[in-house]
Symmetry: C2
Subunit: 376 residues, 2 copies
């Protein structure tokens, strides 16, 4: 009779219609029927990514799409700028270094947003920077970066802007074309409410031009080949058929709900959740908090103990921190199929778990606070 | 009321328990519950691959695992031998060339098996060959290669043997350890009866040693990282959770049935199918026919017309050829969840389709012949 709930920043829960779609018989991928689905999915992705450019689908986790966004646009010894303030910013650095690029790093303090002036400054001094890599929502610190302002700066240069929006897309606002973001990377198991296994890369005309000269080695992640297939609503290699069939359902749900309404919903949920967590005495970890995931500093308590306590008693998965802040913060996601009622239920379970761990809190305080802020 | 049937060499049909597993709620991948599943899956894969070495799981199509088997074992300018007689042998060549390796190619005539002497000869003359790449079942020509004999030759040298068993594994016999095959690559959508989206790489101790010195660039496909995670029943990046949960079901089915029995079943089905197709006047395309897929030359008729005819009227997907023989052959798969009854039904539909296309055949001939050969 025990329920399980995913309140983690990926994977996120599945909608019932998505689960049913996953249980369907497999379609052959080289058929008219599948190409029609792919056509709809390509259109639906443009809407979620807010772009008129192609959004390519890869059979890989998000990291595969991040690597694709390095090896397809750059060439040996190219200079790049990585704006990095968490585990996923570090991943951009690692990938770029693995391919022997000349990497300039802006080390942003974890939990803070980057300084736009610093980015501008470095771009001014390094006219040969070919690409700027950064993050929409830095999942490890629950911090949203001001991609609109970053794009304003980068779009004035010859560099392309590549944004890891794996956890952010569909919760933190991003307007790919309006803001002039060249490449947006995402994954299936966050706001797109699917199991992990698909990743996405949107490609602007400016980025497409860089692809022409790119000489880094690639095969499976070759986006030029993928782009050619995309034009015929096809894929270069066998696609993840069942995930794509389920994605069609998801994109219809999102379209119906309206992306602006979804952004607003998660903005509202995250605001109310922050107030609720503050009412328990917690401090919000990020000074630029994301609408996709919320992190609080747990002080003397062990984050891992909270996470295992709430999972063992309530079947609710929330996340501790990662790397150097692994035991210092807890993270609660609000993305995809998650709604305010899920957050209420999580807060109620969190209160009980904290009480069991000997923390002095009053049962009901955070739930009440969430309700007060959310239901206005 | 129209049924659909997948008689293609990938994707292959899903068993009912697999579909139900795919429809389950998502587990978080960094939990004890998921690690336990991964542990069982790792054991089950060893059985199917007939190895005591690790079988790594990637979230990619089979091509990703092929590329991983190049970039993780080799270094810049290394000399390799590719034994290639079809589209997937060509893929080995393409990947190796993309990474600037020195590639010697044995061009095997399409539909034929390679000469073991020729392989031995080249290895004798090129002691510096680091790896030999070949195929178990060359899907494009429905041809099985004698991997046991190839391994006998390669294992006498310092080179590793890397076998693309994407469509072959689980239908064409392969005994990875007994035969001393170093690296076996496979995919989820063939005999493993899953949707596409997972790929696999088994790694011998000899291959693991080559990994230590490999200097080709990689990140997402880094098997050293994957091997480290594997030791803790974990994955370096977010795994395809739902496919792995369903894989556990599949591996239990295979274990119960017994891999030897499965090899024997498909051997018997393929023999009966070849006789059945010959009774319609077709010539078997391959002189070394696979137990996973059967190809026949269609002569003056268009293969594509047969494929679309049988799909449109009966909902049955079979495959035409690929590349230079695209319109010259049809291919019928027998792998994974497919059984003799599916083949009977396909033959009956094929007869009707051929009749509609004006081919002079007698209805019932091939079905009868299949029954006569199979039910003995």
């Amino acid at each position: 009779m025990k329920h399980t709930y995913l309140m983690t920043p990926g994977p996120s829960p599945l909608a019932p219609e998505v689960k049913l779609a996953l249980a369907k018989d497999i379609l052959h991928h080289r058929t008219e029927a599948f190409r029609n689905i792919l056509k709809d999915v390509h259109e639906g992705l443009k809407y979620v990514f807010q772009t008129n450019n192609p959004v390519l689908i890869l059979a890989s986790s998000g990291t595969g799409a991040m690597e694709a966004s390095v090896v397809n646009f750059l060439s040996k010894k190219d200079k790049v700028l990585v704006v990095s303030g968490g585990k996923f910013g570090e991943r951009w650095q690692e990938i770029c270094k693995r391919y022997d690029l000349e990497v300039i790093v802006i080390e942003v303090e974890w939990g803070k947003a980057p300084s736009i002036d610093e980015i501008k400054n470095i771009l001014d001094k390094n006219k040969d920077i070919k690409a700027v890599f950064t993050t929409l929502c830095e999942t490890s610190t629950a911090t949203v970066y001001d991609v609109e302002k970053i794009a304003k700066v980068v779009s004035q240069t010859s560099a392309i802007l590549v944004v890891d929006a794996i956890s952010g897309l569909g919760a933190d606002k991003i307007k790919t074309d309006d803001w002039a973001v060249d490449v947006v990377v995402s994954g299936s198991q966050k706001s797109l409410m699917l199991p992990p296994g698909l990743s996405f890369v949107s490609i602007s005309k400016k980025a497409e031009q860089l692809m022409e000269s790119s000489n880094l080695p690639k095969y499976y992640l070759d986006l030029k080949k993928a782009l050619k297939a995309y034009a015929k609503d096809d894929t270069p290699y066998t696609p993840s058929v069942s995930l794509i069939v389920a994605l069609k359902e998801v994109l219809e749900i999102i379209k119906k709900e309206g992306i602006e309404n979804i952004w607003e919903k998660f903005d509202k949920i995250s605001k109310a959740l922050r107030e609720a967590l503050k009412s328990l005495g917690f401090e919000i970890y990020s000074s630029s908090p994301s609408s996709a995931v919320t992190a609080v500093v747990v002080g003397d308590i062990s984050a891992k103990k909270i996470v295992s306590g709430i999972r063992n008693e309530f079947g609710i998965s929330i996340a501790a921190g990662q790397d150097k802040i692994a035991d210092k913060i807890i993270r609660i996601a609000h993305m995809g199929y998650i709604n305010a009622q899920d957050v209420v239920m999580t807060l109620s379970a969190l209160e009980k778990t904290l009480k069991d761990l000997g923390v002095k809190i009053n049962l009901g305080d955070s739930v009440k606070r969430f309700q007060e802020v959310y239901y206005v």
